[in-house]
């Protein structure tokens, strides 16, 4: 290849082909372009994910397993002793600034809620119990969740 720089940028100097041979460069360009454009298709269209074919699903898992709603503390006779936000029940001022995938107290089943609300459960007086009314984040949106006795359900993987 004898490509030369056009006038206007300085002297006419040979352009350095990074892959010698026009045909080979065309083949490489086409192959890389196909990888870039179609690489995510197996995972995103057909569910055949591979870590080596990067899928563009940024932030799609953030908030999954995080509850939205209200925790309520009740006495043995059923009287309401106070309501708590999810953050208050988890004993947090805010969720930690870390990768969401490593937050261990996420809720994937009703039984996980006891782990999420462990600080609130630990603070209960004898005879009290905690209920939850609200939703939990899933990849399909908010999933309704209603739990009568949060703390007693620890270990339940319903």
């Amino acid at each position: 290849m004898t490509d030369m720089a056009p006038s206007g940028f300085g002297a006419a100097t040979p352009v350095t082909p990074l892959i010698a041979g026009k045909r080979l460069r065309h083949v490489c360009f086409t192959a890389i372009a196909a990888f870039i454009l179609l690489g995510p298709a197996p995972g995103q269209l057909f569910g055949q994910s591979s870590p080596w074919l990067r899928e563009w699903v940024m932030f799609s898992g953030v908030g999954v397993g995080i509850p939205k709603g209200q925790f309520t503390v009740n006495d043995a006779n059923g009287s309401d002793q106070g309501s708590y936000t999810p953050l208050a029940a988890a004993g947090l001022d805010r969720y930690p600034r870390m990768s969401h995938y490593r937050f261990e107290n996420r809720v994937f089943a009703s039984g996980d809620m006891a782990g999420f609300a462990a600080p609130l459960c630990a603070s209960l007086a004898p005879g009290q119990h905690v209920s939850f009314e609200g939703w939990v984040g899933t990849r399909q949106g908010w999933a309704e969740m209603s739990i009568e006795t949060v703390c007693a359900m620890q270990g339940d993987t319903q």
Binding site: V15, L18, P51, W56, L92, G137
Partner: protein, 285 residues
């Protein structure tokens, strides 16, 4: 000439045969090297590593990043930097390294470096350029800031693919209804100043629809000259808003830098000339 032939020639001229001013590639090279320093400084500096392997990874990565920024053996340096970043990505994917290394912002940075190595990115704003100029004998002709740009075109395709596939991921009721955005904001903004946004679910839905439409549009518009100016403005605005609203790490700044690959190299060349108080050279590409 038949229509398929004309189409083939047009694509070839835009893609594998593309050449022009290397100033946009030079600017991208320096910026990507700096971003690599920022992203991995706290992961691979000697004070952050626990063993010889981490130390070796750090030394190699920072050596290539340094050479990339100053433009010494530019193409080899940025190729080395890209390979090192992809090695870290692989270590993250396999959980041998930090899990964060498997995130999309690391992949974007790594693949961009590798693709940029397929341009003559050392012919502008580099030590390579300085050497080429100073080595020119008196009365000789100064080397041109001109070279192959097919890697720059691949970066443009990477951006288009990124927008398209992220839009595909969002094309479901959970996102369009605002639920997924609300979940994201619950995690990120609960107990923080912007928690008030969670009181506006309708706004969440509208913002979700806007993001979806913009991302599908950007996937095409960034490649079409007639829409490019608007696409760049809207894209930059969107990525700037990501910085305010989401913990995007180096993702947004990397993509913003890569927007240089979308610009007409002649325009960037002329802009730099004007900034330096010179009359833009007459260029053909």
């Amino acid at each position: 000439m038949t229509l398929p032939q004309r189409l083939s020639d047009t694509i070839a001229a835009w893609g594998p045969d593309a050449e022009g001013s290397t100033r946009p590639a030079g600017l991208m090279r320096m910026a990507l090297g700096c971003i690599a320093f920022v992203r991995f400084g706290s992961d691979l500096a000697p004070w952050a590593t626990n063993g010889p392997i981490g130390l070796i990874l750090g030394v190699l990565l920072f050596y290539f990043a340094f050479c990339t920024v100053i433009g010494s053996r530019s193409r080899q340096s940025i190729a080395g930097l890209g390979i090192m970043i992809m090695v870290l990505y692989a270590l993250g994917v396999t959980r041998i390294g930090l899990e964060e290394w498997s995130h999309h912002h690391v992949y974007v940075l790594g693949i961009a470096c590798i693709l940029l190595s397929m341009t003559d990115c050392g012919r502008s704003f580099s030590y390579d350029r300085y050497r080429a100029v100073t080595d020119t004998p008196p009365g000789g002709v100064i080397p041109a800031e001109h070279g192959m740009l097919w890697g720059q075109r691949l970066i443009a395709l990477q951006l288009a693919a990124l927008y398209f596939w992220t839009a595909v991921d969002k094309t479901d009721w959970a996102f369009v209804s605002g639920q997924r955005l609300e979940q994201t904001f619950v995690w990120i903004h609960s107990g923080r100043p912007l928690e008030v946004l969670l009181d506006w679910p309708v706004m969440m839905a509208l913002a979700s629809i806007a993001v979806l439409v913009v991302e599908y549009w950007l996937a095409v518009a960034i490649l079409l000259p007639k829409w490019r100016k608007a696409a760049i403005f809207i894209g930059l605005t969107m990525h700037a808003s990501f910085y305010v609203l989401l913990p995007v790490n180096t993702y947004s700044i990397t993509v913003m830098v890569l927007y240089l690959a979308l610009l007409d190299p002649r325009a960037v060349h002329g802009f730099v000339d004007r900034m330096l108080g010179q009359r833009p050279a007459e260029v053909t590409q």
